[in-house]
Amino acid sequence: MSKRTSSLWTNLFRKGNPLTEHVTELWSATPLFRDIPRREILQLVRDMPPRHFKASEYIFHSGDAGAGAAVIISGKVEIRSAGVLLAELSDGDFFGEIALVLDVARTADAIAVQETELIFFLRPELDEWLARSPYFAGKLGANLAYVLAQRLLQANKALVHAGHEGQL
């Protein structure tokens, strides 16, 4: 095989950026991107550079403007509200999805516990995806509704439980 043919062959079947591939895998494993083809997610994450946070650095504060959700590529993130630990998240977990739906301030603090790398999926990206590929972006909307409904269900259970304890 000549050198030119070989390079053409390599270009045709070259593997993508390993980080992009990894982030695509991470997002596709979340319920947000359930039943959405890999190539669609790949297109979304291809041009989105990751963000690096030092240990103890705030990713966002409660009350900050929220533009979208983030998935953790590596590291650990704590979600806190008024100093109370709500959740500890690590590789592959995502948070901040409310900002994909509502234009409201962040409802809790997100802090990088150690050196953390994450990638955002932002509302402008969702908006553009909706214009380009409404079927799959709509699917993400349905998945998002599912995730938020699950959270609401959990919150209702917690409230009922707290009510029962109060009666006792």
Binding site: P31, G63, G68, I79, A131, R132, Q154
Partner: protein, 370 residues
């Protein structure tokens, strides 16, 4: 003083806003030689992006969609250059030959009015003003016709350069924007995205709506002027479309040149003047009843007084271009400043009901929800 300003969200927003303005001014200065084609390319990008998305939605890949959309633009551009530009240049040359008669006629009309005003009110009117203005216009027009070859060369250059930039914008804008955003510090990242999102959405909607509105106005006025028998129907119709980009003042200005031409004959036809006014007013009526409610509504959220002041002030400092960019510039400034104020004045989360999930790390793993 500066420290006090920095401690207040308004002060911080103002400083960031002024810094952004300075950065924009430097950019404009650096890009001055290619600024107009660059702005044209961005306008085309705003108009063509939805068409590209439409083709992608129908199964075409990105490159094919961009090629088809741009090919359409180039074909329309060539048709305009081959048919429209020579036609308008012909009409402009015809107008040139008429300008001395128009100038004399207007001067005599003004003289008549002047003597009436002197008789009735005792005021003097400078009747040479109109004549001087028309003489200036004539000399500028002669220069324009002399340099019509230059216009053609510039048009051909623009016809190559603008689609080329538009092609790269349609293909790589997302990547370029995301890379530029990645240079921002972590704490400003999401706020910058939010402000960008609001500004881009408003601006794109405004550009699309206003250019569609102008095209509709141009089509109506060209047809109307042609029907009433105006010799410069295409020239003044297209001009009316362009002038429509200037809110409030533009429609009035668009009536002026055809009126002057109609007045500049030996015995002005009153019906021609009424017909010209009727065509412009019909176009404005269609614009107000049909076009504005369906296209323009809610694109910019500015008080009419501010719009009018903005147009006059921008027009005074930056001329015709200033009048065109006044509204988008004001709307963008408003969104950026409001976004900075809201973002820097960290909203109290007390009014936002927070639902504690109380989940353990295992529950908090979203993968487990599925």
């Amino acid at each position: 003083m500066i420290m006090r300003l920095l401690n207040h969200p308004f002060g911080r927003a103002l400083i960031i806003y002024l810094a952004l303005l300075l950065l924009l001014s430097v950019l404009i200065l650096l890009l001055k030689p290619v600024l107009i084609p660059l702005i044209m390319a961005f306008i085309l990008f705003s108009i063509l992006d939805p068409l590209k998305n439409h083709l992608i939605r129908n199964g075409l890949n990105a490159i094919s969609s961009i090629t088809i959309v741009l090919l359409g633009v180039v074909i329309i551009g060539i048709i305009c250059l081959v048919i429209g530009v020579p036609l308008m240049l012909d009409q402009w040359e015809w107008l040139q030959t008429r300008l001395p008669t128009i100038a004399t006629q207007i001067a005599s009309i003004l003289d008549t009015f002047s003597s009436s005003i002197v008789n009735v009110m005792g005021m003097h009117v400078d009747t040479k003003l109109g004549e001087r203005w028309l003489t200036d216009l004539r000399s500028q027009g002669t220069d324009a016709v002399v340099s019509s070859a230059g216009i053609m060369v510039q048009s051909v250059f623009a016809l190559v350069f603008i689609p080329l930039i538009t092609f790269f914008l349609l293909r790589d804008y997302r990547k370029m924007r995301n890379t530029a955003m990645s240079w921002l510090p972590n704490r400003a990242y999401e706020l910058a995205w939010l402000i960008y999102f609001r500004v881009a959405k408003k601006l794109q909607n405004y550009i699309r709506s206003v250019f569609m509105q102008s095209a509709i106005i141009a089509m109506i006025t060209v047809t109307g002027f042609y029907i009433i028998g105006l010799d410069t129907a295409v020239l003044f119709g297209v001009l009316a479309g362009f002038l429509n980009l200037i809110p409030y003042i533009g429609p009035l200005l668009s009536m002026l040149p055809p009126m002057l031409v109609a007045l500049g004959v030996d015995s002005p036809d009153i019906w021609m003047l009424i017909s010209i006014a009727a065509v412009v007013m019909t176009a404005q009526l269609i614009d107000n009843i049909i076009v504005i409610p369906s296209l323009i509504a809610n694109t910019v959220d500015l008080h009419p007084m501010l719009v009018l002041l903005g147009v006059v002030v921008f027009g005074y400092f930056f001329g015709f271009i200033g009048m065109l960019v006044a509204i988008p510039a004001l709307a963008t400034s408003k969104i950026i400043f409001k976004g900075l104020m809201n973002g820097l004045n960290r909203a109290s989360s007390e009014d936002i009901m927070y639902v504690p999930i109380n989940q353990k790390p295992a529950d908090s793993n979203p993968k487990s929800i599925a």
